[in-house]
């Protein structure tokens, strides 16, 4: 990992050193960069200079022990939390200084987020849950519903379109949630332990679907997990420990696209 410049430096443009080596050896500009991010919850320092880069379409596994700061790193990278110090750069633009309104719009259009559980609105049907981000962007009802149907189908749950979350299994809920995260065709999907609340079998099945759909759509994924098996889905792995990041390994994937 490059020596990150001090967060107080006035130069917001990503330096050429930020370029990533992708698997086929070509250098490409990173889509998302977190540079020396510091974040504290009051006196609790959760991130102390974390670095991260994500290339377009890349699946990055973020691992580390519980309480090491993985979730915080993701929330900072996704622009939910503004870092106390350091920068988040998306598509060559520093987004960490943007207002909450601007970051909110970015999350709505460019990012998708997926949590462990509890992100679907229980009163809305699966179709409406998935259509919600499109409606927020001004889509018409019919149009949004059609798109929602399509994405539910990609995750193999088209038949749930009129079912409400309380009547779904955990695996079904996470597939619907994934469809909602992907419906805006984001360039980055942030997933914090997306299968952490599921049993091994359905967890693996859901994970495979997420990876497959993300690869088909060319969406970059920041995949947070503490499960080595899940981490193996990533192209690269970053280890978080006590609020700092370490590049673990370059996954030698042998070209199969799962």
């Amino acid at each position: 990992m490059n020596q990150a410049p001090s967060p107080n430096l006035a130069d917001p443009a990503p330096s050429p050193h930020d370029a990533l080596q992708t698997q086929d050896g070509r250098a490409s500009a990173p889509l998302l960069t977190v540079r020396s991010a510091v974040y504290s919850y009051g006196s609790e320092l959760a991130l102390q200079g974390a670095n991260l880069q994500l290339a377009p379409g890349e699946i990055l596994a973020v691992t580390g022990p519980s309480g090491s700061g993985k979730s915080t790193l993701m929330l900072v990278a996704a622009g939910v939390l503004a870092p106390t110090a350091g920068q988040v750069i998306f598509n060559g633009r520093v987004i960490s200084d943007d207002s909450e309104g601007e970051r909110s719009r970015l999350r709505r259009t460019e990012f998708g987020v997926l949590f462990q559980f509890g992100q679907l609105v229980p009163e809305l049907t699966a179709g409406e849950n998935v259509a919600l981000p499109l409606l927020l962007d001004g889509a018409k009802r019919q149009q949004a519903r059609a798109a929602a149907g399509l994405w539910l189908e990609r995750f193999g749950v088209a038949d749930l379109i009129d079912v409400r979350p309380p009547d779904m299994s955990g695996g079904q809920s996470q597939r619907v949630a994934a469809a909602r995260a992907m419906v805006t065709e984001p360039s980055v999907l942030f997933a914090d332990e997306p299968t952490g609340a599921l049993d091994t079998m359905s967890g693996e099945a859901v994970m495979r679907e997420i990876v497959r759909v993300a690869r088909e759509a060319g969406t970059g994924v920041m995949l947070i997990t503490h499960d080595a098996k899940v981490a193996a889905y990533g192209d690269r792995e970053v280890l978080v420990r006590d609020g700092t990041t370490n590049e673990l390994s370059i996954n030698l994937r042998n070209g199969d696209d799962r």
Binding site: V80, R108, V121, E128, P133, R141
Partner: protein, 486 residues
Amino acid sequence: MSSPSLATSLRLAASGGRSDHVRIGITAAGAFMTTLLFFLAASVGLIGPTDGPYRFEVLNQPGLRPGVIISLLLLTVPTLIFVGQCSRFGAPARDRRLARLRMAGARPRDVVRIVALETGLAAFGGSIVAAVAYFVGRRWFATEHIATITTETEIGSRGILLEEVNATVRYAPTDVLFPAWIVVALVAVVPVLATGFSVLALRRVVLSPFGVNRSTPSTPPRLLPVVLFGAGTAALMSFSAVVRLLDLDRRAFPLVALTGFIFFVMIATGLIIGGASIAAATGRFIAPRTDRPSILLAARRLIAAPYTSTRATTSILLAVFIGSAVQAVRASFLAGTDPEDTFYATTFSLLNLVLVAAIVLSCASLAITTTEAVVERRRTLAALKAAGTPRRTLAASLFAETLVPLVPSVVLAASAGLLSARGVFGSRVSSWSDERGEVILVDVPLPVATPALLGVCAIAVSVLATAASLVPLRRSFDHAELRTAA
């Protein structure tokens, strides 16, 4: 296993988090308000022949005192509803805590005991403070001064002599004596009611060692409220005409009054049950039609939990209903009296003040319920926020959830109150203010402005209460909600 000691139960009752402390605090505050109103009402009721005189005419004339007492008791309706709401504030979290206690071996009745103790003691604390405040306040306001008042003296068997005299008066009945048992009873009423309510509310919730099962109320009835409301309103609208037609004996008056009251209660009940039905129906109408996310979220909530959003507006609706009826009665009294005589005008103005106070008090319940709705859904709201849903969309949906069912209900309540009271008191009254001293019939104007104002006031105060409850919406986007277990 033996029952935990009182001390243990107490400790368990108080061992909750922030929202448990808030619940205890607001329950006590609601009990304080209610008990204070009870003391004020009782002090008017206890005025004896040797007490007084007072600055205000309504306190001096025994015939007017019941009106004062009823007004004060009416004010306790919203405060009592408030206490009821409070006992459920943050309750889902508490219920989960209690379920864990069940897991640890507590029996169902131990859990009920903990809840009863918590609510009962909180309300008791508030009531005690109210009693102390009342008796301290009595000394504070006990000053006497000179004022001109009207005295009544009976002369012979028929006549009453009204005299304007200067007398030493008190502002309020601070001189009445309270028998000890009344003090005890007044302090006990609210804690007993609150405890009963919280235990009853708990019966809706099955606390098993494996968690909390809330038996959700079924979809609200559609026909019943329409029948109650429709029949009641129709009956009262034609009430005086029918009574005139029947040409009843004077002795039938109590029966006639009772019949009228039953119809009145029918309308009120129809309104209360109907609130939830209106919420569900408007939700069902809107949900498949809207393109707006905020409206969609609100409509779906109304379908899924019609009682949640209307429970809190119950006392607002009642205030609007009774208030509009009062406006019709007022119009009828004022049409029949000499405009020089300001007694009725003043009395009805005071009554209107009471109504506004009732609406404002009702809004405290509304603020509690909306806050509770936000807190209960904080994880979902935080996730929506993280996914880029603007806060204004979420705020708009919470506003819509309250206002969409409230506006039609308020219109119905105001119209029903106005028309039924007019039906009872008639649209023509006899007046003795004719120049030649003859009794003539005058038309009672239909008061539209004041009930409309009352309705607008109710909706405006509801908007404010909802806005106030959106404050924790900021907090509930707390990222803490988004952290996962690992």
